[in-house]
C-alpha cells in the first residue's frame, strides 16, 4: 500500500525499499534475542527471511502490475532472483527442515536431542552468515544478483551482484549439508526403544528422505558455485564458450571452451531434488495433522512410506525436464519425459492415501486441519499442471511462461506454505504451551485461501497466452500479451490482500504469546510421542524425563479398546 501511495505521489523517484527491508530485519534481531532454544531460533530466522522475501516481492508485484517506472529493470531483476532464492533457500528449507525438523523430529522419535548438537549450532551459524550476506547484497554498489535464482551462465558470469550470491550459496549449502548429516544420524541412531522403522510417524520418514536429498544433491551445486565463482573472479571459462561478444565488445579475458549447459545440468541436479525438499516435509506435516484431526490411522501407511522413498530416489533422474528446450535430442528427451511421468505416480499415491485417510474419519475442522485440507487440492493443481510441462512437446509452448510460474507457486505457496502454516498452528501449543486463537485462525485461513487462488490461478491463462516470465513490464510491450494484461491488476490486488490477511496471523501469534491461556500437554489428543510423552513446552534439556518406550504404530486412533479414541504410542494396546 505504502508502495502504491509512493508511486502516486512521486512517480519519478525510486521507492525507499531499504526502509521496508530494514523494518523486518530489526524485528528479526529483536525476536532473535528473545528466542531461547534453537528450534524457535531457527523458526524465527526462517520466518523472518520469508517475511522479507514476501515483502520484497510486493515491490516486484507493484512493478509488474503497475508499470510506469516504480523501479528500474536492474532492480526488478534483482528482486526476482532474490525472491526465488530467499523463498527457497532461506525461507522454506530452514523453516520446514531446520525449524520443524529440528524441533519436532527428536521429540517424535523419542530422542533427547539431535545427535550432534554442536554441529547443529554450527550449521545454524553458517546459515545465518550466508543469509545475512545474501540479504546485504542489496546494499552493495552493483545491487544484488540479477540473473534469476537459476543463475544461468553466461549471463550470471557477466552481471553484477552475482559474486555475493555465490558465496552465500556456498555457505547455505554447507549449512544444509551439516544439517542433513545430523538429521539422518538422528533418525537412524536415536530412535527410542520400540520405535521400529514402520512405527515412525510419517513426518519422520519425510524428513529422512528430504535429508538424503539435501545430502547428495546439494554438493554438485556447491561445486558449480565454486566454478562460477572462478569464472567471475579468476576469469576461467568453465561456463563460457569461445567468441562471446557482449554489446559489440569481444570478451577477451575469457579463453573460452566452457559449456553454458554444464551449469544448467549441475544446477538442476540440485534444484529438482530441491523442489521435493520443499514438498516432502510439507506432506509430512499434512499427514500428521490429517491423521490427528480425522481421528483415524493414516490409510496405506506402508504405501506412503514406499512412495516417498521412491519419489526421493526418482527425483535424482528427472532434472533435465527443465532443459528440454536447450536443444535436447530425441533419446534423452524420451528418457526424461518418461522419468518425469514416472515420478508423478508416487505423488499421486501419496495424495490418494491422504484422501482416503479421511474416509470414515470423524473430521474436526480446526485451523491446522483447514490448512492441511486445503493443501491437498492446491498441491493437486500444482502437481497436475506439472504434467504438461513434463511432456516435451507441450513444454514447447509453456516453457518459461507464466504457466510455469503458476505451476510451481501452486505447489510451494498454497502447497508448502499452507502446510507450514498448518504445522505452526498444530505445534504452537507444543512450543509455547498455548493454543492459537481459532477465530483469528479461521479468518487467516479463508482470506489466504481465497487470495492465494486469486494470485496464482490467472497465471495459467497468462501462460497459455505465451507471456514470458521475468518481464520487467509484465508483458506490456508484447502484442500477444495484450488481452491478458488486465489479469495483472487482479493478481496484484489479490497479492496485496493476501498480505493483509497475514496480519490476523501475526496478531494471533503475538497476542497468544503474550496473553494466551496455558493448555494441557496434549491438546489435540494425539498419539505421537511429542504430545504423549513429553511436557509442553518440553523441558529445556533432554526433552523427556525418562526414555519413552513405544509399543505400536504411530496413529492408533479410534480403537474401541480403551475409553478414549486415541492410544498414545508409549501406551501398550489393550486386548
Amino acid at each position: 500500500m505504502a508502495l502504491m501511495r509512493w508511486q502516486l505521489a512521486y512517480p519519478e523517484q525510486p521507492i525507499p525499499w531499504k526502509v521496508f527491508a530494514l523494518v523486518p530485519m530489526l524485528v528479526g534481531v529483536v525476536v532473535f534475542f528473545i528466542g531461547r532454544r534453537k528450534g524457535p531460533y531457527l523458526s524465527m530466522a526462517g520466518f523472518i527471511f520469508i517475511g522479507i522475501g514476501l515483502l520484497i516481492w510486493y515491490f516486484v508485484l507493484g512493478e509488474t502490475r503497475m508499470p510506469e517506472g516504480v523501479m528500474l529493470p536492474e532492480f526488478y531483476n534483482s528482486l526476482g532472483a532474490m525472491h526465488g532464492t530467499i523463498m527457497v533457500f532461506l525461507g522454506i528449507v530452514p523453516l520446514s527442515v531446520g525449524a520443524f525438523g529440528n524441533y519436532v523430529l527428536p521429540l517424535q522419535i523419542g530422542a533427547p536431542d539431535m545427535a550432534f548438537p554442536k554441529l547443529n549450532m554450527a550449521s545454524y551459524w553458517v546459515f545465518l552468515l550466508g543469509g545475512i550476506m545474501m540479504l546485504s547484497s542489496f546494499f552493495l554498489p552493483g545491487g544484488a544478483a540479477q540473473s534469476g535464482w537459476t543463475s544461468y551462465a553466461p549471463l550470471a558470469v557477466i552481471s553484477p551482484g552475482q559474486t555475493v550470491w555465490l558465496i552465500s550459496m556456498i555457505c547455505i549449502i554447507t549449512s544444509s549439508l551439516l544439517g542433513a548429516v545430523n538429521f539422518i544420524t538422528t533418525i537412524i541412531q536415536l530412535r527410542t526403544k520400540g520405535m521400529t522403522w514402520m512405527r515412525l510417524p510419517f513426518f519422520v520418514w519425510a524428513q529422512l528422505v528430504t535429508s538424503f536429498l539435501l545430502l547428495l544433491a546439494f554438493p554438485p551445486l556447491e561445486a558449480a558455485a565454486v566454478l562460477q565463482l572462478m569464472d567471475r573472479l579468476a576469469s576461467t571459462s568453465f561456463f563460457m564458450p569461445s567468441g562471446l561478444v557482449v554489446s559489440g565488445q569481444v570478451l577477451t579475458e575469457y579463453t573460452g571452451g566452457g559449456s553454458p549447459l554444464l551449469w544448467q545440468h549441475l544446477f538442476w541436479f540440485l534444484a529438482h531434488p530441491e523442489v521435493y525438499v520443499l514438498i516432502l516435509p510439507a506432506m509430512g506435516i499434512v499427514a500428521e495433522v490429517i491423521a490427528n484431526n480425522s481421528r483415524k490411522p493414516l490409510w496405506g501407511y506402508n504405501s506412503l512410506v514406499y512412495a516417498t522413498v521412491f519419489l526421493g530416489f526418482m527425483s535424482f533422474i528427472v532434472w533435465a525436464h527443465h532443459m528440454f528446450l536447450t536443444g535436447m535430442g530425441a533419446t534423452m528427451a524420451t528418457f526424461f519425459q518418461t522419468t518425469t511421468m514416472i515420478i508423478s505416480i508416487p505423488s499421486i499415491i501419496i495424495l490418494t492415501a491422504l484422501f482416503i485417510s479421511l474416509w470414515g474419519g470423524s473430521i474436526r475442522f480446526n485451523t491446522p486441519m483447514l490448512f492441511a485440507l486445503a493443501f491437498l487440492p492446491m498441491f493437486g493443481i500444482g502437481g497436475l499442471t506439472g504434467l504438461p510441462l513434463g511432456l516435451a512437446p507441450s513444454d514447447i509452448h509453456l516453457h518459461d511462461t507464466y504457466y510455469v510460474i503458476g505451476h510451481f507457486h501452486y505447489v510451494v505457496a498454497p502447497g508448502t506454505i499452507f502446510a507450514l502454516l498448518a504445522g505452526i498452528y498444530y505445534w504452537f501449543p507444543k512450543m509455547t504451551g498455548k493454543l492459537l486463537n481459532e477465530k483469528l485462525g479461521k479468518v487467516h485461513f479463508w482470506g489466504s485461501f481465497v487470495f492465494m487462488n486469486g494470485v496464482f490461478s490467472p497465471m495459467f491463462i497468462q501462460g497459455f497466452a505465451g507471456i514470458s516470465r521475468r518481464l520487467w513490464d509484465g508483458g506490456t510491450t508484447y502484442l500477444h500479451a495484450q488481452p491478458y494484461l488486465y489479469l495483472n491488476e487482479m493478481i496484484s490486488v489479490s497479492a496485496w490482500l493476501l498480505g493483509i490477511f497475514q496480519i490476523p496471523f501475526v496478531i494471533n501469534l503475538v497476542w497468544t504469546l503474550a496473553k494466551g491461556k496455558k493448555v494441557g500437554d496434549n491438546v489435540w489428543e494425539a498419539t505421537t510421542l511429542e504430545w504423549s510423552a513429553a511436557p509442553s513446552p518440553p523441558v529445556p534439556h533432554g526433552n523427556f524425563k525418562s526414555e519413552p518406550e513405544v509399543y505400536h504404530p504411530a496413529y492408533e486412533y479410534s480403537l474401541k479398546s480403551n475409553g478414549r479414541d486415541y492410544t498414545p504410542q508409549n501406551e501398550p494396546l489393550k486386548g
Binding site: I188, F212, L216, P220, S259, L261, L262, H265, L266, F269, F316, I317, A320, M323, T326, G327, M328, G329, A330, T331, M332, F335
Partner: protein
Amino acid sequence: MENTDVQEVKRHIRVYLYTFSALAVLTVVTVAAASLNVAVGTGIFIAMVIATVKGTLVAGNFMHLFSEKKLVYLVLIITVFLFFVMLCIILSTINDQVLSVS
C-alpha cells in the same frame, strides 16, 4: 572395530604396512605406465583401474571398510550410484544435443 584387543590391533598393523607397500608400488606403476606411449583411451583406462585399486585399498584397509557394517555400505552404494548417474546422464545429454551442421 571397537573392543578389538591388542593382538588384533597388531595384526592390523601388519595389514597397514602391506597396504602401504602396495600403494607405493602402484603409484610408481601408474607413473611408469603413463610414460609408455599408449593411446589416450587405453591410458585413461589403465590409470583409472590402478587408481580404483589404490582407492579400494585405502578405503578397505585404512578406513576399515572391509569390516564395516551394512548401513555404511548402503549409504556408500547409494552415493556412488548417484555419482555415476550424474556423470553418465550429464555426458549423454550433452552429447545428445541437436546441432546445426555447418
